[in-house]
Point group: C5
Chain length 362, copies 5
Amino acid sequence: MSLATYRKRLRRRWKKAGMEPGALVHMGEIPITPVEIHLIEYDDNTLIERDITGETDFRKYLETSKVSWINITGIHDFEKLTRLAHDFGIHPLVLEDIVNTDQRPKIDEFENTLYIVIRMLHMKEEPEAPYEIQSEQISMVLRENVLLTFQEREEDIFNPLRQRLRNRKGHIRRLGADYLAYALMDSVVDQYFRILESLGEQLETLNEELIRQPGPGALNRIHTLRNEIIYLRKSIWPLREVAGSLQRGTAFFITDATRLYLRDLHDHIIYIMDTVENYREVLSGMLDIYLSSISFHINSQMKVLSIFAALFLPLTFVTGIYGMNFEYMPGLGNPDGFWLTLGAMGIIAGTMVAFFWRKHWL
Amino acid sequence: MSLATYRKRLRRRWKKAGMEPGALVHMGEIPITPVEIHLIEYDDNTLIERDITGETDFRKYLETSKVSWINITGIHDFEKLTRLAHDFGIHPLVLEDIVNTDQRPKIDEFENTLYIVIRMLHMKEEPEAPYEIQSEQISMVLRENVLLTFQEREEDIFNPLRQRLRNRKGHIRRLGADYLAYALMDSVVDQYFRILESLGEQLETLNEELIRQPGPGALNRIHTLRNEIIYLRKSIWPLREVAGSLQRGTAFFITDATRLYLRDLHDHIIYIMDTVENYREVLSGMLDIYLSSISFHINSQMKVLSIFAALFLPLTFVTGIYGMNFEYMPGLGNPDGFWLTLGAMGIIAGTMVAFFWRKHWL
Amino acid sequence: MSLATYRKRLRRRWKKAGMEPGALVHMGEIPITPVEIHLIEYDDNTLIERDITGETDFRKYLETSKVSWINITGIHDFEKLTRLAHDFGIHPLVLEDIVNTDQRPKIDEFENTLYIVIRMLHMKEEPEAPYEIQSEQISMVLRENVLLTFQEREEDIFNPLRQRLRNRKGHIRRLGADYLAYALMDSVVDQYFRILESLGEQLETLNEELIRQPGPGALNRIHTLRNEIIYLRKSIWPLREVAGSLQRGTAFFITDATRLYLRDLHDHIIYIMDTVENYREVLSGMLDIYLSSISFHINSQMKVLSIFAALFLPLTFVTGIYGMNFEYMPGLGNPDGFWLTLGAMGIIAGTMVAFFWRKHWL
Amino acid sequence: MSLATYRKRLRRRWKKAGMEPGALVHMGEIPITPVEIHLIEYDDNTLIERDITGETDFRKYLETSKVSWINITGIHDFEKLTRLAHDFGIHPLVLEDIVNTDQRPKIDEFENTLYIVIRMLHMKEEPEAPYEIQSEQISMVLRENVLLTFQEREEDIFNPLRQRLRNRKGHIRRLGADYLAYALMDSVVDQYFRILESLGEQLETLNEELIRQPGPGALNRIHTLRNEIIYLRKSIWPLREVAGSLQRGTAFFITDATRLYLRDLHDHIIYIMDTVENYREVLSGMLDIYLSSISFHINSQMKVLSIFAALFLPLTFVTGIYGMNFEYMPGLGNPDGFWLTLGAMGIIAGTMVAFFWRKHWL
Amino acid sequence: MSLATYRKRLRRRWKKAGMEPGALVHMGEIPITPVEIHLIEYDDNTLIERDITGETDFRKYLETSKVSWINITGIHDFEKLTRLAHDFGIHPLVLEDIVNTDQRPKIDEFENTLYIVIRMLHMKEEPEAPYEIQSEQISMVLRENVLLTFQEREEDIFNPLRQRLRNRKGHIRRLGADYLAYALMDSVVDQYFRILESLGEQLETLNEELIRQPGPGALNRIHTLRNEIIYLRKSIWPLREVAGSLQRGTAFFITDATRLYLRDLHDHIIYIMDTVENYREVLSGMLDIYLSSISFHINSQMKVLSIFAALFLPLTFVTGIYGMNFEYMPGLGNPDGFWLTLGAMGIIAGTMVAFFWRKHWL
């Protein structure tokens, strides 16, 4: 994430200074999209799926024994969201967090509700732009048999899951809303592997570039990748705690069966963290290599320079002596003078070469 | 914060060496401003607001069921402060901390009183001066239904809050002094986002400068920003503990409703810490880039130098040979001598170029 | 492990995104090898050994009082593995982990089953290839008197253990499946000492190379070894937790006798970790030495260069003066002019030498 | 503290190897000074002060209800100290620690006695010497109503405290021996602020020197200050634990009133640690600046060198060509030959300048 | 410890791969020395001392109320050791650890036995060899009133202790086997101070060398000392835990009196660790100084080089111009031509000097 993006987020935050905590504020840059609500209500035998467009009293979904998954796309119709929050007893602070989409991953436990924030990661897909990881906030409100999910934009990552629900494939229809929440988090975490693979590809390319032609361009790309990896680490690290506290947590509606799956999710996140840490160390090793290969180049250029200077500066000086125009100079009239001088120069050059040979510079 | 400011504070501290702990001392540099006391007394239905100028027995505010917010501006009239402290049963050590305004953020629990120190941050606003974050101490003494706040100077950051109290907007009038204390801390923390944004702006400018024209000026600004970020981190880090221990603490008059808001505040502080850490890493990456781009420049200058020296030193030597004034030199009389020599020089130059080509220096 | 290997693994992972957790997927690159099942059933007096080829109801092994060690080689016949898992009540997630052979070492506790993953390490044996540590996943499922082990390939590292079982040597026949699991882990950890020895050998060779002839080759090998050591650390570190939690764990079928052996194993792993950490520090010291010896070389070449330039540039300039062709130049006609000029050059050279002597450059 | 001082201490230590733990040994270098014992016995109403010269049975001070402060100056009369230790039931190991004055700050709890070691810090006051912090050990033995303090030398830092005792000023006379111990520790810690201020002054001077004239002198002073800061940190860090465990400790004779003061002391120590950490980071930033400003200088000298070499080497070569003495050279007889050659040289120079301009070297 | 020593140890380890845990193996390099057993049996009144040569039933020493100290020198007669182990109920794994003398310091608690490993440190005493710390393993098996100590070689470090036992000096005869074990550990730790002193001496010498004549020799010695300090830290760090867990441990036969002495031992170890850490930081500071002083030298040589090149290259070029042999050159016939040219060169030189003066290079 670039510094500019960071700054934009921070400005948005302090613009709210002085307002009531829990107040919902329209951020200028984001267009107000309509809220779309999609409902899937299911148990082992039946599955009802529909879009909710008009006004509904959502409280009925709390009282049925079926599992209801209510997916809300678009978070800028505050009136509708407030009504929804009221029906499900969502705390104003939670609603504020849902709307302010730069939360770090976290889990907040309320009396009979869990509020989970995770971040969906994408790669920026413009081909010429520098490598950049972008993220979208996925908020989940989990009650005993209801799961609410909030997305900023329509994304298709939950479609395979919907398909599994419709197909009665696997045990997803037999287990409750807690397993559904797990399955959604698992889908999101699975995307991280894709991000890691593309990062690894960047690292490989960079590594080859460093060997082929080290230069400031490579340095800048090391810098960019380093910032992206730091950002990635910041996004994933708290997720570990989220999965961990879900698994070990006290919420009564997380069943033991689901806890086993959450342990698996926890393992995946640790695997991802390990990879990210590994990338960080590889990248820092690349910087070391870059720096020391530059030093090595300076060294070998220095060697060439010193050898040529030490060889030719004395010789040129000797030619200079006999290039002087004094009338009376010894040896100028000597028929062998030229050859004697060349011989002397040969001896000087030989001494120099021997000197450099002994210093292992040749 | 500059080293000089640091030193001034330390001198003030040891000047007090040997005095009774809890003794209040006039620091020379600060003018003795009068103490102004502003009272807001409210419950859900009524709100009384007035300035307290004469002598008052403050103990009555402890016995009413309304919430009293007593804001004290100016901390140099020790007599008045001591009387106030006596009425509210404030420990002499707390009073000493209120007056010595370089405390780090902390929370001290007493039997039925909480003493909280937080730091309000500003940017120095003189346009030409180097970037510097300044801070002011806000002390809060919280009892069951009374909140005392102490400020060095009149600041307007609490005005939006006063307005909310007057407007009966939100639940601030329905909740107690604990929520009021939270709301004040939240106002202060909201200002941190502004500081972070301005820091981010500095980092962006610096980044561009490093790419455009790296030099000692940029280096000095890296150094300055680094010190400011270290200072910022030192100011915010203990705040995390303050919010955390308030939220999890045992003080009986912190209601569960307020604890939820304190959890939210805790999240904000962690978000700020994350950003500060991120800035630190970005800055340290910038220093790396600066250093390695200098190395790279040295390298490419070295290359130019070596090539020119290795090319022209031998050639000039050859011209020197035929510039000698010996009477008997072979070839001087040869009509093609000049062209043969030029040819030899061409071969030497070609060899050198081939050598550098193979070394990938060209 | 190279970046390319890493990337291949990651791609495999996200290819599974959207699938049911616990689903088994054929990875394209691995040929489907048949599953071979080898059984050793023993108690203190008897030992039965046979290959299981046809279909068997494995549940009978759970009900006997003898210890059964079922070693499964090959993990790509999912149908057979699923049947086996069903018989032994292995959770689908565990089976998924057995099949996806890039798990980090871990221990998962289920009600009456322990699932242990450790990694067997090899050195790549192609003589010309860069040094690379490869690893294979060994999965163990431990129940009260049954131990299942899963290997990707037939390896002979468990043969000494089988021999010990057949020989009735030592107490391995008297102790239960928990001791057998320990003994297998111990065999694997013993191989780590071999890896460490070969790594140490590489470090010694590298150290000598750095002293004899530092260059980019040495630098690249430092980089390679550094990545291998990082990878090794990542593989061994979680093993410490595995041994620790086995030893302190609550699983009822781990006897006190075995716990003593597990403490010993834990000590071995810490010894290995210590050695790895030591290697890391030695390697980072080598990089420091490499960098500073290059700086030192640059310094001494610089010295030679400066001395020659400072000595001969002024002298050559003097010869240049008397090489000019002005008609009226003082001293040209002087019979001692040549010698006086040589004398002046001698004085200049002497001054230079004295200057460098005082600067300790000679 | 210099390496030499360190070494002296270590030698003293191992000279004792093989002796009985608790054995008291005369260190050669320290002259045997007589032990001076000063007693202040007080309660809220009375205060008796006197020097104890002859033999006394100290046990009586344990049985009175007054508070007794027995200050022992000089620690080399082992016989007298042993008698004293016997009267107060001081463990031989504690007496050994009192006599070996290079302990790190610590607190040892015995059944009804606390043994506290803190270190008094001074700056070396010889004007020409390098900056060095020196320290003296203050040992305190605290029982319910008796405080013993041991000093190596007569120092006046406790005088203000004595004055406060005599004046009945503050509550020092009303509180017990535990408060007295706190007040002594507080006096010592107050002196640390002075040390920190002088360190800060050194840092400021150094910072200016680095900007004005960076050189090996500044580097050596960075090194010295760094070692002093490390030493300071080592002396203060354990003090934090001392204050913390006193405050939270279980000793029955530490009253709640004193615990509040100890919390304040704890805050002071954390403030000091923060400052020391800050100094460390500032100093490490200075080293970075020093190194990169040297690199920057090398870079700009390199630039000058390359430009001059690339400009004048080719030109001088051209002059060399026409300085050769061949009889048949084209153009020598051309009346415009000189000007044409000068023109060619101008074109070469112009090309070079253009080249450097495009490379941003000019 | 050198890399070669490390490697030898590792080879020995994996040579045992596949063997029964607890199996005793003859390491080729170590000659099989006879086992010598020395017994001291004492209580407050009596002391019996003798060498045990024949076969004995050691179990009787477990049943007496006296304290028995059985010191075994030589660990290669496995038969004798196994018999001894059997008599005292020593676990096979413990015996294996006694025989494999490269354990890290540790404490293993068994039901009624403690097994302690510490390492005795020596300096290599060959005068010309590089500085190297060597270590020997001391194993202790402590039961209620029996202490077994195992040494590889006859060393005299326990002699002072034997003398103290014989002399009835101090309380060593009144306290039990636990105090004896403490006293032995204390003797070993006392030797560490000697090692530290010699290390400090090396550091001082190195520091002087770095100031006098920095070169690759100094760099190598920094490297060697760094490795030794790392090794020292690895040997001592676990000792802290050993002393700590002995002191706080649950073993019933460690008396409260001895625990006080163990706390003292713990303090000594922390003092040693502090010193080692300090050395590490001093050494890393030395490396910084070395590197930056080389940079500084490069910088000042560069300055000299640039000044000479920038001064004389243009001047020599000017002489070259008037050295050309054109027939028609302006000014050659001018009687003042020579002086005018010299004047022009003076102006060029003056400009250069002014330029360097303004750049603070002169």
